[in-house]
Amino acid sequence: MGRSIKKGPYIDEKLFRRIRQMSETDTKRTVKSYARRSVIPPEFVGFTVAVHNGNRFIPVYITERMVGHKLGEFSPTRTFRGHSGRKKKEEKRH
């Protein structure tokens, strides 16, 4: 089920304050954040947020088209290195 429209999108307050402060003072620094569940509001465009993926912070440069998505979508939590198989075994032999 989707989120109630009455509440509006969920945006991490702390992160939002920091970005607003930066845009007021015209500084641009990467902000580290754990707020994967936060929606990206239009105010974030042009900033870089380092989004935690459970292991490390992945820098995400926010573009206009990312607005409305959530930060976590851009910081994958799993690394898939491929299945074992014929190709891999051949590589090992060499």
Partner: protein
């Protein structure tokens, strides 16, 4: 023969069941369209006059996304997911289920036919 949105509707069906032949129109929107233009649901397509067909056509053209236009929108959305590097884009690119379904088993619709990778014996 009634042509709406580039599709020929089957003459012998009632209009309620003919409209879903247009991709983008299901049972729900078919009913809604007919309510909006005031045509009874159980009329056959061949019994509708030109005016009624035109009114349906107008309703669909102005309020619904159908056929090629709809498909173009969908693939544009998928392209956007891929370009912004979102998780959904990654899944589309990998040809795996996008909405969190399991992939340990099943997921054959997205993954296609099984490819078993057994060890192949070396020819001596």
């Amino acid at each position: 023969m009634a042509r709406i949105a580039g599709i020929d509707l089957p003459d012998n069906k009632t209009i309620l069941y003919a409209l879903p032949h247009i991709s983008g129109i299901g049972h729900f929107s078919a009913r809604r369209i007919l309510d909006a233009v005031g045509i009874e649901l159980n009329r056959k397509v061949k019994d509708l006059n030109e005016e009624e067909i035109a009114s349906i056509r107008k309703e669909i053209d102005s309020n619904y996304k159908v056929e090629g236009g709809l498909r173009a929108d969908i693939s544009a959305n998928i392209k956007r997911y891929i370009e912004i590097g979102s998780y959904r884009g990654l899944r589309h690119r990998a040809g795996l289920p996008v909405r969190g379904q399991r992939t340990r088993t099943n997921a054959r619709t997205r993954k296609g036919p099984r490819r078993t990778s057994g060890t192949i014996k070396k020819k001596s």
